[in-house]
């Protein structure tokens, strides 16, 4: 029984102290930093807001500056080469294309609504690449970039925004769950799934292709939900192999992050008994490195981590939202200078890892994806009327079958009339 040994009073080991969590390592050299007591006090007693504005750089893991300069971090290293950086770049460009195309489709009345990812490409693409194939990802409704990396046909994403289904893919095909609209609900599912991984013995065997992790995606707004906080409790006490990946895009519709928390979100983790780390969410190398390290940490049996990807929602909450009612253009302009894609392009050009021809062909590929998405969207069939009765249950009760049949008969009358 390994789940709760560290909490049993009759266990021989000493109970962990908050300080000891600070030195839990992913690999011997990777230390997950925790806020110092001094810093906690400064922020709690200092300025009215604990959240750095766009002007003042927050304290986070950054491996590539907004100008495209490489930085090293003592605890997190980027283990890939320029080929991998190019892959990230390509995926971010494609994710942005999916997003602009879907936004346009909504404007043309083809989609009822669309949740834009603009600005969050690095937060998603790096995190998705940081996981391994057997890891199971529980998304919100905005993880289009993660879906893309997982190989899900982006046309499938459109179904629920067009109103033809509530999510049409099989989660098992790509280890990518269905979009979850109820804020925070999926964090508990991820922890339960992780408890299942542990019960299956698929953690800590040392086999990187077998040991698995669950990843819970959620937003800054979701961090106030009871389900998310309960999921921290369960993850900690069962030492579940899960990574909580919070894209702090500074907004929950019109509510700024200050409305959700007085302290940086990643500080919450040590209070629950596991480490938290903040990463520059607009730096794809950093989100990749942090996700790789924290998932491998969970994979090896060392338990959960909370990752706060510090980013910005450049677009509206959804296509039905009007952000000019609640936020200033200044912030948006400041964040524009930290664009997640531009910095990688600057880096790749400087490294001579891409040239104009490569970029032009990528632009063409993105245009093709846009066209495919448009066509795919137009071709999505409306559901058959009686399909609304399908899959309510695995075993259909007679009374529901009767309801369906009687509605079928009702509909058939009209067909006869029109004949």
């Amino acid at each position: 029984m390994t789940w709760v040994t560290h909490l049993q009073t009759d266990d021989s080991g000493p109970a962990p102290t908050p300080a000891s969590y600070g030195v839990v390592t992913t690999s011997p050299e990777a230390v997950i930093p925790q806020p110092s007591e001094e810093r906690v006090m400064t922020i709690l007693t200092g300025a009215p807001t604990a959240h750095e504005s766009a002007e003042c750089e927050p304290d986070y893991v950054q491996l590539l500056t907004p100008d495209g300069e490489r930085r090293e971090h003592p605890d997190y290293a980027f283990d890939g080469d320029d080929d991998l950086v190019r892959t990230f770049y390509r995926d971010m460009v494609m994710a942005r294309r999916i997003d602009t195309e879907a936004t346009a489709l909504q404007r043309h009345g083809e989609l009822g609504i669309w949740a834009q990812l603009l600005g969050q490409e690095a937060a998603q693409i790096g995190a998705a690449h940081g996981t391994r194939r057997q890891d199971f990802i529980f998304p919100t409704y905005r993880e289009h970039g993660v879906a893309w990396v997982r190989g899900l046909d982006p046309v499938r994403l459109l179904g629920l925004f067009r109103g033809i289904d509530h999510g049409g893919w099989d989660p098992k095909d790509h280890n990518f769950g269905l979009y979850t609209v109820v804020i925070g609900a999926q964090a508990l599912h991820a922890v339960g799934y992780a408890m299942g991984i542990e019960a299956d013995g698929d953690v800590g065997t040392g086999d990187l292709d077998r040991d698995a992790v669950a990843v819970a995606h959620f937003g800054d707004g979701a961090s106030s939900q009871g389900d998310v906080l309960e999921s921290f409790v369960f993850a900690a006490t069962y030492n579940a192999p899960v990574v909580f990946y919070c894209q702090n895009n500074q907004w929950a519709i019109s509510a700024p992050i200050e409305r959700q928390s007085r302290t940086p979100l990643h500080w919450r983790a040590p209070g629950f008994g596991f480490p938290g780390v903040r990463v520059d969410g607009n730096d794809v190398l950093a989100t990749y490195a942090v996700m790789r390290a924290t998932t491998d940490r969970a994979r090896s049996g060392q338990g959960p981590t909370f990752v706060e990807a510090y980013t910005y929602r450049m677009g509206a909450h959804t296509t039905t939202d009007d952000p000019t009612r609640y936020r200033s253009g200044n912030d948006v302009d400041a964040w524009k200078r930290k664009d997640p894609i531009a910095r990688v392009e600057a880096y790749l050009r400087r490294a001579d890892a891409v040239d104009d021809a490569w970029l032009a062909s990528l632009a063409e590929e993105a245009a093709d994806l846009g066209a495919t998405l448009r066509r795919g969207c137009h071709e999505l069939p409306d559901p058959a009327p009686l399909a609304l009765f399908d899959h309510v249950y695995a075993e259909v009760p007679d009374e529901l079958a009767e309801q369906r049949d009687s509605y079928a008969a009702y509909l058939a009358q009209f067909e006869e009339v029109s004949r």
Partner: protein, 327 residues
């Protein structure tokens, strides 16, 4: 010899044990279900025999319990949750209604959720607030859930196993005041009826009494008492509340021409309302009287010293029978 004399608590315990022996994906989770064996001892001894990985003492958070069970089910497990008391299912209400009930539908059948949520329900035990409620209608009103209620030890033994074997999520209601009350003979060589069926538990010709859970016993006693008044009362144990098994109900009412529904839950929009509507729609011309409902009043559950006024008892059931005959 496969026959034993057991209480409802023992029947449920033995049923859970059998299900765990048959399928090693079955897990129990809930508050105090492990070491303690549950506050009602329904899971007594199971953690000792099946280990802490299969009988989980959960943190004290109902949404967390149900939400993590969803994840476990997605990973291939068959979680069986114990909610400690009816009144504490509400913190989990969101997970049950928005996730458990809808996952199969949302995923177009690709993510079935075979999980069972056991809820000790009903009053009559002299408890403080929140420990005596009957929330069944709230779950029966939710498409995607199946809702059953056992009323006796033998059903307890079989129904819990059948619910665990079901690929749909099942809300499993257990009449807590009956846990340690009557004993019955369990003969495991006699095959049980299917889970989602209602059963005639007493034959009669003049009026049909419809009940489930704790009210079955009350209605059987009422039927016995009615004999001295020259009335032959049929009693049906509904057992399944969603879906309803209307076959035996309609057949009975067509014969007797009278129906009375009894439950502890509030009368307004309770199961009685739905049963009344369906009976009226299906056998209007067989009815000698409108379908009558006996239920808890439309008040919050009262303080324990007043609960005998709130809970329908033998006399109130017979009073409704009298009113039915007065038409």
């Amino acid at each position: 010899m496969s026959t034993s004399r057991i209480t409802l608590a023992k029947g449920l315990n033995a049923g859970l044990r059998a299900a765990m022996e048959q399928d090693d994906k079955v897990m129990l989770m809930g508050e105090d279900v492990g070491r303690l064996g549950g506050v009602f001892r329904i899971t007594d001894g199971l953690q000792k025999d099946f280990g802490e990985r299969r009988v989980l003492d959960s943190p004290l958070a109902e949404s967390g319990i149900v939400g993590t069970a969803v994840g476990l089910a997605m990973r291939g497990y068959r979680p069986v949750i114990e909610i400690q008391f009816d009144g504490f299912v509400y913190p989990a209400y969101d997970q049950i209604v928005t996730q458990v009930a809808k996952m199969s539908y949302r995923s177009q059948g690709k993510v079935p959720l075979p999980l069972v949520i056991r809820i000790p329900f009903g009053g009559g035990i002299g408890a403080v607030e929140h420990h005596s409620e009957s929330p069944e209608a709230q779950f029966a009103h939710t498409p995607g859930l199946k809702v059953v209620a056992c009323s006796n030890p033998v059903d307890g033994y079989w129904m819990i196993q059948q619910a665990i074997a079901s690929d749909d999520p099942v809300i499993f209601l257990e009449p807590k005041r009956q846990y340690h009350a009557d004993k019955a003979d369990l003969d495991t060589s006699v095959a049980p009826p299917p889970l989602f069926t209602s059963q005639v538990v007493r034959r009669g010709d003049d009026v049909t009494l419809l009940a489930y859970g704790p009210m079955v016993r009350t209605c059987l006693a009422a039927a016995e008492a009615a004999v001295s008044e020259g009335r032959s009362v049929e009693v049906i144990d509904l057992r399944t509340l969603s879906p309803l098994d209307m076959g035996p109900v309609l057949a009975s009412v067509r014969r007797t021409g009278r129906a009375v529904v009894a439950h502890e839950a509030h009368r307004n929009l309770g199961m009685g309302s739905e049963l009344s509507a369906r009976i009226t729609e299906e056998c209007f011309y067989s009815l000698q009287a409108p379908v009558l409902r006996v239920g808890g009043f439309d008040t919050p559950y009262p303080a324990a010293r007043n609960e005998h006024h709130f809970l329908p008892d033998l006399d109130r059931v017979l009073d409704a029978v009298d009113r039915s005959f007065a038409f």
